[in-house]
């Protein structure tokens, strides 16, 4: 919307009263109460069975919202990873030869079974990961089921994946997933791998293993043949064992660019296939003719969705100078209304930061922003005493050389920069080693098409942000990794074309 002075109507003199909520209205708690049906202890899932780790070691997993212990998770060592790969290898011939339609029916079953237990899984996801229940309930779990449903239908149609070529499964796939979308990342990995006829060894993130191991219950309920999917829990050492295992025909990794590069080095000299979905520092461009009300909602969703623990988060806001002041003012008003706190509360917008380590990293980067001269805006919301929380934060007066404009923060922290011309916006947006995603806000269709062609990123959201779908390929340019997940393109990374 243009500034009021641009409109010579009588309305221009009457500015709408500002609606301010923030902490002025107290909300009654609205806790989600469904039973997550947690077990006190989770074992590894190998060859269709829950299996105690050979080392006998377990580690605690907590609720980041209150730091209380939720369960013990089996720690997979090299011998357990071996056993998982052996099971996957044994399962491969029969699974890959199964008619595609039959393989697909297992995946359809899995989707349906997850839908049946959706609320239980949503609660477990929120308890272990810290994300608001409204997100795990309305996004993570339904989207996970949708991914299985989508890929199920591909299993008997693989000849359409690579036109003019034959495709074959790769074999055993090792997969390592992050903690920001534990179930959804599992679905992004398992869906295409299984549809294409591969078998899998997957490691969930150390801090969020519960829903993965709960998911093994669904695989059992679906009657999935033993060994087709194996879960090994643990931290970096377990991940390294999964990646380095000689039995893996392909590795798929989602996580930091730093670890991605280490994986690239460790796989040099092998013939393993690899896909990497790594970090990002997405530019979200607000042009002077953008619909500002919509844009502000999009900015908020772009950076505060899932506490900003999103590799494609719109963490660099590039605003055209003529509307920068207006956008920043609206943004500051909007973040004052965000409700930060108990993730299990249905009204919560921003839940808990996933771990103490991540909170430390966010805190350190925000401190660097202040030190380097940017201006920090935070609402004065009250944070719970226990647990890991961070206020929604917006930095103005940011320059391209600031760390907060270059490094992935992976938290609820937005850096606002300005530009004068569209060429300058493109230059700034592309001036990064990353290239995962970008956003464009403008009222003009031709500008959208021009900018979406010029922004070097694998996903471009025009007048929207952070939208995902199983049919929509996702993945990056440059140091954001390679390969795609979702859609026909995602399947291509799980087959041999020839």
């Amino acid at each position: 919307m243009p500034a009021p002075s641009a409109r010579p109507s009588s309305r221009s003199s009457r500015r709408a009263p500002e609606l301010r909520f923030g902490d002025r209205w107290t909300f009654d708690p609205a806790p989600e109460t469904a039973d997550p049906k947690l077990k006190p202890r989770y074992d590894l899932f190998i060859n269709g069975r829950f299996t105690a780790p050979k080392s006998g070691r377990y580690f605690e997993t907590i609720n980041p919202a209150d730091e209380r212990k939720l369960a013990e998770i089996a720690l997979a060592g090299a011998a357990d990873v071996d056993a998982a790969y052996a099971a996957a290898r044994r399962a491969f011939p029969a699974w890959s030869r199964l008619p595609g339609a039959e393989r697909g029916k297992y995946l359809f079953r899995i989707a349906r079974l997850l839908q049946d237990r959706a609320r239980e899984f949503a609660v477990a996801e929120t308890l272990n990961g810290g994300k608001p229940i409204k997100e795990s309930r309305d996004f993570d779990v339904p989207m996970t089921a949708a991914h299985f449903f989508y890929h199920a239908g591909w299993a008997d149609k693989l000849e359409y994946v690579a036109p003019g070529a034959r495709v074959a499964p790769l074999g055993v796939v090792g997969q390592v997933i992050p903690w920001n979308f534990p179930l959804l990342m599992l679905a992004w990995k398992l869906g295409p791998a299984l549809a294409a006829g591969n078998t899998v060894v997957l490691k969930p993130a150390e801090t969020t293993s519960i829903t993965c191991l709960k998911f093994a219950e669904i695989l059992q309920e679906a009657g999935l043949p033993p060994g087709v999917v194996n879960f090994v829990a643990g931290a970096g050492e377990t991940g390294a064992a999964v990646v380095a295992h000689p039995s893996a025909d392909k590795i798929a990794f989602t996580g930091s660019t730093e670890v991605g590069k280490a994986i690239l080095r460790s796989l040099a000299g092998t013939e393993k296939k690899l896909t990497l979905e790594l970090g990002g520092k997405a530019a979200n461009l607000i042009l002077d003719d953008a619909p500002l009300d919509q844009a502000v909602e999009g900015i908020v969703n772009g950076i505060f969705f899932n506490q900003g623990h999103v590799c494609c988060a719109g963490s660099r806001l590039l605003v055209q100078e003529s509307v920068a002041e207006e956008v920043l003012a609206r943004l500051r008003r909007r973040i004052a209304t965000l409700r930060v706190g108990d993730p299990m509360d249905k009204n919560t917008d921003i839940g808990a930061i996933n771990s103490r380590a991540q909170l430390k990293r966010i805190t350190a980067l925000v401190a660097s922003g202040v030190r380097e001269g940017a201006t920090l805006h935070q609402p004065a919301c009250v944070l719970p005493e226990k647990g890991f929380y961070f206020r929604p934060s917006v930095f103005s007066d940011v320059t391209m050389s600031h760390r907060i404009a270059r490094e992935e923060i992976f938290g609820p922290v937005l850096s606002v920069l300005t530009f004068r011309t569209i060429d300058e916006a493109v230059e700034k947006a592309n001036n990064t080693a990353y290239g995962l995603s970008a956003g464009v806000w403008t009222g003009k269709g031709s500008r959208i098409l021009k900018l979406s062609a010029e922004l070097k990123a694998g996903v471009v959201w025009a007048n929207t942000y952070n939208k995902f779908d199983p049919a929509s390929p996702f993945g990056g340019y440059k140091e954001s990794g390679f390969g795609r997940e979702g859609g026909r393109h995602g399947l291509l990374d799980y087959v041999r074309v020839g």
């Binding site: 003019g164 590069k261 040099a268 000299g269 996903v459 959201w461 025009a462 440059k478 859609g487």
Partner: protein
């Protein structure tokens, strides 16, 4: 008295010009019978970096050409090769290919250019997609060139190997730096003369002659090279992958064991084009 022939000074084609190495170095090339043929520039790492610079400058313009135009230019390159077919066959034969094999190689190389010329305005329709998302958005996936790509051509077949690796990379709008066959560099020099008359803008294809051992590490690590397409030995593969890790460079190896393998249909595919494009997915609201 027999007339003394005027011999050619072989100069590789870089940035639309025929260059010597900035290092001033050359290495002697002998024909199959062991007779001295010429000195060929031994391009340096600095030559490679210079070539990357001109290729990066040429990239946006080449990528902005219409697909139809890129197709016509690749076809024109085929025309140039066909027109100098006899000379190219003589050259390959001079450096050791049997005459029949040389003929097959040149004809296959020409046909390969025509094949990829035809793909220019079609691969997008085969590789791109409109995606039926479950929300009110128009969602589509298109391809984009990666940028500057390094090509490590096989030693043999010197011409067909090079063209088979270069054509699928440039057809989508990438620009390339090619390291020509070390053993038989002259066919690439000759090809450069055809490139110069093919309407291909300068800087789109840049050919370097020189030593693999010296140049491969810089191909692997140069951050502005977004991808590598190589026919390489096991050791070279490992070194290329290790060097490419820091810039998360895309590295593809062509596994064709014998020179004869390059001749067949296995030497060309739309999936070779796919290997050197990025997929970009765009979301646009519908009705909002």
């Amino acid at each position: 008295m027999p007339r003394l022939t005027v011999t050619k000074t072989p100069k590789p084609y870089v940035g639309g010009a025929f260059i010597r190495s900035e290092s001033g170095r050359v290495f002697p090339v002998h024909d199959a019978r062991g007779a001295f043929f010429a000195h060929v520039p031994q391009c340096s790492r600095k030559d490679l970096r210079n070539a990357v610079e001109v290729a990066a400058k040429a990239g946006p313009g080449w990528a902005r050409r219409t697909a139809y135009n890129r197709g016509q230019i690749l076809y024109r390159l085929g025309e140039m090769l066909e027109a100098r077919r006899a000379e190219m066959i003589d050259t390959l034969a001079r450096f050791g290919a049997a005459r029949a094999a040389a003929t097959r190689e040149v004809d296959a190389a020409t046909d390969r250019l025509v094949h990829y010329a035809g793909w220019a305005d079609k691969y997008e329709q085969v590789l791109g997609n409109v995606n039926p998302v479950a929300s009110p958005h128009f969602n589509f996936t298109v391809t984009e060139p990666m940028g500057v790509v390094g090509v490590i051509a096989p030693d043999a077949p010197a011409l067909l190997g090079l063209i088979s690796l270069v054509a699928p990379v440039i057809v989508s709008g990438n620009t390339v730096i090619v390291l020509a066959s070390e053993k038989t560099p002259y066919p690439a020099v000759l090809l450069g003369e055809m490139l110069a008359t093919s309407d291909l803008p300068g800087g789109v294809v840049n050919l370097l002659t020189g030593f693999r051992r010296e140049l491969l590490p810089t191909f692997a690590t140069h951050a502005h090279l977004r991808a590598i397409s190589a026919a390489a030995s096991a050791d070279e593969r490992q070194a290329l992958r290790l060097g490419a890790a820091e810039s998360v460079k895309r590295v593809r190896f062509t596994e064709l064991a014998s020179p004869a393998d390059w001749l067949g249909a296995g030497g060309q595919s739309v999936h070779a084009i796919r290997d050197f494009v990025e997929f970009k997915t765009i979301w646009h609201p519908v009705g909002a």
